[in-house]
Amino acid sequence: MTWLRSDRRAMVSLAFLVILIGVALLAPVVSPYAPNEQDLSATLEPASAAHLLGTDDLGRDTLSRLIWGARSSLYASILAVLIAVLIGVPVGLAAGLGGKWADIGISRTIDALLSFPAITLAVGVTGVLGVGLTNGMIAVGITFSPQLARLVRSRTLVGRGELYVDAARVYNASPLRIALRHVLPNAMPPVIVQISLLLAGALLAEAALSFLGLGVQPPTASWGAMLARAYNYMDVAPAQMYPPGVAVLLTAMAFNALGESMRSLLDPMARR
């Protein structure tokens, strides 16, 4: 953990994320109002003592929705990245260890998937699967998985030539055991860096999908859904678009900073 002490940006980012996750988990306790509690006599109000960040078009407290929205947005990002890991890591291992033809087949599929603009493919897949936060994030996870698969593949190609892998082979270890016990652990550090960067990407993707009405469905709050509502009332209450936007920006920056800090830790050449 000396790493965190030497990198202030990473430490601040980690602290921010820990607090954010804490607030999201404690939403029922810390949020001043219920997220869907409407007050139609106080719609699109500016910030006040009663509503620290104002209210939305249905008179719901923006701060409370921001706190509850953190839940959906973080859940969505984690779900998408989890799916990307569950698909990308085994596929990458299979490409690296499965022989020449498996490698060619998987690599071309990865190239092809990466030719689709990620958000576009995610929007398309969500349209086909049906709208909703979980479907949307499955789609995002699928579109993110080739990046991880490519990374794991290249690390596996390096790792499989190592002496200890040869040794394991001599001892007749099964291919699965070699993959999981000897190759994967060495591929993990860059994967963890990539996970942190992908979390930022998934957060932006959730916001984009929910903005388009393909993610979270009303009345559930998410940062993207809040931006979509704020967009509709932009001419009357422009201030409403700032809280969710800033929340996405800061959280994505924190994930990125953490990922980059870990990357420079792993690659001393890049440290400066």
Binding site: R108, D111, A112, P117, T120, L227
Partner: protein, 320 residues
């Protein structure tokens, strides 16, 4: 140098051959999209309350009565003849809609790429030249904010300030470039600035990193020892790196910007291909989703090919 030329030609041929399997897999992915629908694709394609005759017609057009591979063959055959089916929503041929709407999207993306280069390159170079200076810190912070900013939120801020409050640009809509180039550029300005938020950030970041690496390399240290100033080293030896780095980033950005138009076009109500996909996804207009996603993938594959060709021109190491 005939020898060098033939290497180059061979390289291009290999690269073209590599693109073929990618293209084939891409068509398969697009084709398979439809089969992700829960239940019978024919019913999904027919929309609400289909008649048996309509269902039979759809089954025949998509070959849904055939085995999977036969359906794929039929889809490929139709796609090769520029037939991607009809929109379930408008009834228009999907290809017609794509050809009509694509120019709006490409204008915004091209404009955004130019803006990103025009702002990102000088700032990235300046930051690398004065590593650790206040300017460098500012550029680095700007680029880490730029890659993390939700670009459609940035788009909303731009609309709120420059369209709604100041009235400098239209808030929504687009004009065909062929009819009114000035008007088209005016309506494309705010969307392009929104897209260039992450575009210039990425260019600044990667260019700065590449140049800092060049400037700390042993051969530059030698040049410096010989008495050359940082500035002339940067001009003489850094420029090629600038070209190659920018080219790489442009390849990445082109893909990401095309994708981002899905959301940015929604903010500005631009009737481009991004809006088509977003609307098709909401309406469950499967042929439109397939066609538009496929069109974008084709464009990206073509652009990547073009960039690889430019590489061989720019970087002598590639041909070696």
């Amino acid at each position: 140098m005939p020898d060098k030329l033939s290497t180059r030609v061979r390289l291009l041929r290999d690269r073209l051959l590599q693109a073929v399997p990618v293209l084939v897999v891409a068509t398969f992915i697009v084709f398979a999209l439809l089969h992700l629908t829960p239940g019978d694709p024919a019913i999904a394609l027919a929309g609400e309350a289909p008649t048996p005759a309509h269902l039979a017609e759809i089954r025949q057009f998509y070959g849904l009565d055939q085995p999977f591979i036969g359906q794929y063959g039929l889809w490929l055959w139709n796609a090769a003849h520029a037939d991607l089916g009809r929109s379930m929503f408008s009834g228009e041929p999907v290809v017609t809609t794509i050809v009509h709407d694509l120019p709006y999207t490409l204008l915004v993306v091209a404009y955004a790429l130019l803006l990103s280069i025009a702002i990102g390159v000088p700032l990235g170079v300046a930051a690398a030249a004065r590593e650790g200076s206040a300017l460098d810190v500012a550029v680095t912070s700007l680029s880490s904010a730029g890659v993390a900013v939700p670009y459609f939120w940035f788009a909303m801020i731009l609309v709120s300030i420059f369209a709604l409050q100041l009235g400098w640009f239209p808030a929504t809509g687009a004009v065909p470039f062929s009819q009114d180039p000035v008007g088209a550029l005016r309506s494309a300005t705010l969307p392009s600035i929104a897209l260039s938020s992450f575009g210039m950030a990425e260019i600044m970041r990667q260019l700065r990193a590449a140049l800092v690496e060049v400037l700390s390399s042993p051969y530059v240290r030698t040049l410096r020892a010989k008495g050359l100033s940082s500035r002339s080293i940067l001009w003489k030896h850094g420029l090629r790196n600038v070209g190659i780095t920018v080219l790489t980033v442009i390849g990445l950005l082109f893909n990401r910007m095309l994708g981002a138009t899905v959301v940015v076009e929604a903010v500005f109500a631009i009737p481009g291909i991004g809006s088509d996909i977003a609307q098709a996804a909401v309406n469950k207009d499967y042929p439109m989703i397939q066609g538009a996603v496929f069109a974008l993938a084709l464009i990206v594959i073509a652009a990547n090919l073009l960039i690889d060709i430019l590489y061989t021109v720019l970087d002598p190491r590639v041909t070696r």
